[in-house]
Subunit: 202 residues, 2 copies
């Protein structure tokens, strides 16, 4: 790609450095910004800079927040005896979007993955144990992806938390709602038969 | 999508206002920036602002440029008797990338499209006529997409330029190199038979 302008080249390279954006898409975005008022670009840029400079981690649950404590931890209507452990803020948002959960969260900031050099010390695990030790928490729910690393993390956490006298649970695994059985993977289908639940007629 | 932070929400909305970027992708980009140093975000933002503030149109050909005259118009090695007319800078870059053309350009800034309310007066057509009137240009090549609006534009331009004593040509149309005939559209295939060229053995 030959650029007629160094300024455009730098702007395209800036966009193309983001994940999933190639140089053609980057150029399309730059030309889009050029079509708009220059105030659009300024607002776009300042929204990002303000976000990066102003954002912080909730001192309780490590959710991203504008204040020292995130709006979930600060919400008095939420059930403080329940803590849902998630890998990252994206999983937290996915659970929030279901509208089915009214407890608190704890964001680990990753999962234990020796292959990537991530050990328990790199995650927000001690802080979780400290929260449990305070005594208000009744149940810790592991909402962690059912991968090998995820299972390792869940195992490590339960070994650490159960002695503190808290109940540890994991989100239900099984075939998806609306999914066709014939397309479910073997492992999930096999385990969902072994871990079958009594059918309740309401 | 529920955001735990107004700052993140604004940054996501900023990304999602760009064409082809949805809210999920926008969130992924924002979380990517959060993982990097804050200097990354600052450099990203300043590259865009500098680009938007510093860019201008070449006073000769309306290509985007850092200077008053773009690097193509300023290049003494290029053939000044040839002008290639393109709809926009993206088409210009595509032709430059072929490495097959060494003349100058003229960027129209769009094509005549009554349905979108774009008439000849909205495009850089008078400036093209003025360039032709200067007398140095021998041939004007229409490199405009072969759509209905494109053909209208080409017709309008030739009616305007031919009386000025300049040769007007259009880029060759036909089946693509490397393309399978059975997948070529009917119109292109039909016209490529009518407009067949003598086969030259080198």
């Amino acid at each position: 790609m030959t650029f007629s302008s160094k300024l455009i080249e730098k702007a395209v390279e800036a966009f193309a450095s983001l994940p999933g954006i190639g140089r053609k898409t980057a150029l399309r975005l730059v030309l889009h910004l050029l079509k708009q008022d220059s105030s659009t670009t300024e607002q776009f840029a300042s929204a990002l800079v303000a976000m990066r400079a102003g954002i912080r981690e909730c001192s309780r649950c490590y959710n991203l927040a504008d204040e020292a404590v995130c709006h979930i931890c600060a919400d008095a209507r939420r059930d403080r005896s329940l803590v849902c452990v998630v890998e990252n803020i994206r999983d937290l948002m996915a659970i929030e979007d279901t509208g089915q959960y009214r407890g608190l969260y704890h964001v680990l900031g990753g999962i234990i993955s020796p292959i990537d050099g991530i050990g328990p010390g790199d995650l927000n695990i001690e802080a979780l144990a400290d929260r449990v030790k305070e005594g208000d928490i009744r149940e810790v729910i592991m909402a962690i992806s059912p991968t090998i690393e995820g299972e390792t993390t869940i195992y490590y956490l339960s070994k650490k938390l159960q002695p503190l006298g808290v109940q540890v649970s994991a989100i239900a695994r099984g075939v998806s709602f609306g999914g066709d059985l014939e397309y479910a993977d073997e492992l999930t289908l096999g385990r969902s038969i072994v871990a079958r639940t009594p059918y309740a007629t309401k």
